[in-house]
C-alpha cells in the first residue's frame, strides 16, 4: 500500500509539474538570426540562457555552416556560455584552424570564458601571437584570475616583455566600477524607536532590501568617506551595520558620524545607495533624489 502511495504521488508530481519547454532547432535558429542580423546588435539580458541547453548543438552547426567571421563572432558569444569540455575542445580546434586574427581573438576569449582557469595551458602560447590584438585579448582574459598566482606571474612576465605600447596601456586600464548592487534607502534624520546611537554615530537610515550574500561581508562595517554638498565637502564616517541577518528581508542600518552642523544636510527623503567593485577597491556612494552624490567612500581590496 505504501509503495502504491509513493507511485501515485510520483505520477501526480509528473502530471502536475509543467513539462520542460523544448525548443526546436528551427525556433532556436530563428531566435538567433533575428538578433544576429542587426547592424548594431544588442542582445537582451538572458538571451542565450533563454534558449537553453538545446542551443549548443545548433550553435555548433550554424558556426560550421558559415564562413562569415562576423556571424561566427556572434555564435561564439553563445558558445562561450557553455562550460563543458566538448565545447572547449570545439573552440580550441577553431582557434588552431583560423587565419583571421579578429576571429582568433574572439575564439580565445571564448575559450577562457568557457573553460575558466583550465584554459590557461591552451591560451598561454598566444601571449606571443604575432597579432597585438590577439595578445591583448588573451592577457585581458587571464587578468580576471586574480587568485591564481601562476597565471598572474605569467602576466607580469608578459607585461615586461610586451613591445607594443598600446597593448600595455589597454591592459593596465583600471576597470571602471562595476555596479553590483543598488538599493534605495530612506533616510530618516530623526531615528525612531528601537534605533540607537553607538559610539558617537548617528543612525540615519535603515534599508530593508535583500542583498546578495556575497556582498554582505563587503558592505558591513566602517566606510570613511566624503560628504558632498553644493556648499562644502567634509570627511565623515559611515557604518553599514547588518541588524538582523535572520530576518527576511535582511535589515541594514546606515549610521553616519558627523559634526552636528552637518546633520541638517540630511533631510528626510529617498536616497539611493550604490555599490561598486573594481579589482582594487570597493566603493559606495549615496545619491539624493536629485541625483547629487552626497556621500562617497572607498575601501581597498585586500
Amino acid at each position: 500500500m505504501q509503495i502504491m502511495k509513493l507511485i501515485l504521488i510520483a505520477l501526480l508530481l509528473v502530471s502536475t509539474s509543467p513539462a520542460r519547454a523544448q525548443k526546436s532547432e528551427g525556433d532556436i535558429r530563428a531566435a538567433i538570426e533575428n538578433e544576429m542580423n542587426q547592424r548594431h546588435p544588442s542582445l537582451p539580458a538572458g538571451f542565450w540562457e533563454s534558449l537553453g541547453s538545446d542551443a549548443l548543438p545548433v550553435l555548433k552547426k550554424m558556426y560550421s555552416e558559415t564562413s562569415n567571421p562576423n556571424i561566427k563572432g556572434f555564435l561564439i558569444d553563445g558558445l562561450s556560455r557553455f562550460g563543458d569540455s566538448d565545447t572547449g575542445t570545439f573552440l580550441e580546434s577553431e582557434v588552431k584552424s583560423t587565419q583571421n586574427d579578429v576571429l582568433k581573438k574572439k575564439l580565445l576569449g571564448a575559450v577562457i570564458q568557457s573553460q575558466g582557469e583550465n584554459a590557461f595551458d591552451f591560451v598561454e602560447p598566444y601571449l606571443q601571437d604575432e597579432s597585438p590584438h590577439v595578445r591583448l585579448a588573451v592577457a585581458s582574459g587571464l587578468k580576471s584570475f586574480e587568485k591564481n598566482s601562476s597565471i598572474q606571474r605569467r602576466l607580469v612576465e608578459f607585461k615586461s616583455n610586451e613591445k607594443t605600447p598600446w597593448v600595455l596601456t589597454d591592459l593596465n586600464k583600471v576597470d571602471p566600477g562595476v555596479e553590483l548592487q543598488k538599493t534605495r534607502i530612506k533616510i530618516n534624520a530623526n531615528p525612531g524607536k528601537g534605533q540607537s546611537e553607538s559610539e558617537g554615530l548617528k543612525s540615519i537610515a535603515e534599508v530593508s532590501k535583500p542583498l546578495a550574500p556575497l556582498l554582505e561581508k563587503d558592505w558591513a562595517g566602517i566606510w570613511r568617506g566624503t560628504q558632498i554638498s553644493d556648499k562644502k565637502i567634509s570627511l565623515v564616517e559611515a557604518n553599514l551595520i547588518l541588524i538582523d541577518s535572520g530576518s527576511t528581508p535582511k535589515k541594514w542600518r546606515v549610521e553616519f558620524k558627523m559634526p552636528k552642523k552637518l546633520k541638517q544636510e540630511w533631510k528626510t527623503g529617498e536616497f539611493t545607495l550604490n555599490y561598486f567593485q573594481t579589482n582594487r577597491a570597493h566603493w559606495i556612494e549615496i545619491r539624493n533624489s536629485k541625483m547629487d552624490v552626497v556621500f562617497l567612500a572607498q575601501r581597498k581590496v585586500n
Binding site: 547592424r39 548594431h40 567571421p69 562576423n70 539611493t272 561598486f276 572607498q298
Partner: protein, 583 residues
Amino acid sequence: MKIVARILSYSAIVLIFTACSVVDKLAAVDAASTPIPPAKLYLGTDVAGAWSPNVSGSGTSNLKNSVTTTTQTFTKTGVGMVRFQDPWGSKEVLVDLGSFDAATDFGYNGANGNGSMTLTADTLSYPYSGGAYPVLTSFYSVAANSTVTEFVNITAGCVTGGMWVCAGGSCDANSACTVTTSGSGSAFANRDDWDQHQTPPYGYTSVNSFPRCDATVSGWTNCGAGLNKLPSGHYYAKYVLMSDRSIGVSTASANLQVKLAIKKDTVARSPAGTSGAINLNVVLVGSKNINDSHTSKGAVNLNLLFKEVNRIFKNEGTNISIGTIKAYEWRDVDGGDYYSQIDYSYLGELFAAGSQGVPAADEGNYINIFMVSDIQITGVSYSILGLSGAILGPPVNGTQSSGLAFSTNITSSGVLSGFNPNCSNVSCARDSQDGDFLEMGATVAHELGHYLGLNHPSEKVASLTETQRHDQLSDTPTCAPRAGPNLDQKSCYMDTALQVGGSTTCATACDAAIGGGNHYYSNTTSTGTKLSYYCKATTECQFNHVMWYTTKKRELVSSVWQEDGNLISPQSSAIVQWNSFVR
C-alpha cells in the same frame, strides 16, 4: 529615452581613482579633459601602389553647379551651465547670427532654391572632466516686418523643470519639456527627434540643420507650417549648456562655440531639380586594410564597394551620386593598427583623431568614412558592422562625431580582396558579386544615411510594454514588433496598420508586386523548402528601406540576385538633399 549610460559612466570616472583620499581625487577627477591629438594620414596619391579610387558613376560631373557654402564662427564666453535635471532658469544664452537674405544667401527664388543652415555647437574651456552638451533651445528669424519664424519651439516646462527627471540612477525625459505645435509649430516632430541632435552618442557636439521638414508636401505631418524654407531676416539661436556632472555646476561657466554652415542652392530640390553629389574621404585604418588595398583585387573590390554605395543613393530615391573620393591611409606607426580593431565606445576618439588628419579644406566638403577591421563590444564576442558618429554628422572635423566607420571582417580573410572570386575588374556584373559584399555596400549607404540625418524607420524595443519608436517621417512605413519584442521582415509583412499613403499594407502591396498569393518573407520550412519572396520596390514594406535596422536578405536564383530593397523615401531624400555635404 533613458540616459542611464551617461550618468553611470560619469560615476565610474569619479570612482576610478583610489590611491589617495577621496577629497584629493575629486579635485584630480575634475581636471579638464585633454584634447584628442590628430592622426597622421597619408593621401593615397602620395603613396606608391596605393588605391586610386576609380568608382563607376562617381565624379565631379555629378556636382550641382548651383551650390556654394560659407561658414562663420560665433563664440560666447562665460556661459553658465545646468545639469541634466536642473531647470534652465536664466541660463539660456543668445547667439546673434546676423542677417540673411533668402535669395542672396540661401538661393530661394520663387519655386527654386534649396538652401540650408547647419549649426554645429561645442562647449569650450569646460572646467571639469566629462563635458557639457550645447542644447539648441531656439532658432528663429525676425523679418523686416517683425514676423518671427521659430524653428524649434519648445515648451516652457524646459525652463521651469529642466530637460530630464533623474532618480534612482537613471534619467527620463521630463514630459513637460518637449517641442510644441503651438504657433507655427516646430521643425522637430517630437521630443525624441529634437533631443537626439542635442546629445550625440560620442562627445558633446550638437548639430542642428534647418530646414528639416516640409509641410507643403502632401502627407508630411509633424512639421510646422512655413518652416520648409529659410526666410529673409535676422537670425538668432539660443543654447543652454547641459553638463553631465552629477555634482552641482551652479557657479561654473564655460564658452560656447557655434560654427554656422550656410548652404546656398539656387536649384530646387529633386525631383523638380537635380540632386548633386557627396564627396568622400575613405580612410583605410591599419596595416591589414592598407596592405590589402595595395593589391589589385583589393583595389577592384574597393571600387566595386563604392560603386554599390553610389548605386543605392543614385537609383533608389535621392538621385544623389558620389562626387570625388579621396583615399587616405592610417598606418600602424601612427596608431592605425590600434584603431583597426576598435571598441565601439572609443569610436569617438577615432573620429576626432582621424578627421583632424585630413586637410583643413576638406572640412564640411568631404564626409570621412573609416574602414576598420572590427568594431567590437567589450565583454562580448559579437561585433558591429557599421556606426555613424551621429544622426546628422557635423560639417566640422575634429569632433567625436566627425565620421562614420564600417568593418571589413565579413569575409573569411577579413579583408576586401577575399570577396568576389568571380570578379577581376571594376566592370564585374553585380550578379557576379558576393552577397555579403553587396551587403557591406548597403551598410556603408545605411551609415551614410544616418550621417546625413536619417533614423531607422522603426526601432527594436526591449519589451512589448515599451513604446514603439519610429522616425519622424510619414512616408516611411511603421512596423510594430510581434510576439517577442523584435522587429523582423515578417512583422512588417504582417503589420495590419496602414502603411505609406494610408491605404495599403505591406502584405497587400508585396503580393500585388509578385502576382498575389500568400507570400511572406521567411527563410525555410522544416523540410528545407524556401519560402522567401522579394518585392524590393514595395515602399510599404519597411525592410525594403535603406535605413531598416538589420542586414538585408538576398539569395541567388538562376544567377540573379533576389533581394530586399534599399529604398530611400521622398521625405528621406528631401532631408538628405538639404544637407550641406550635398552639393
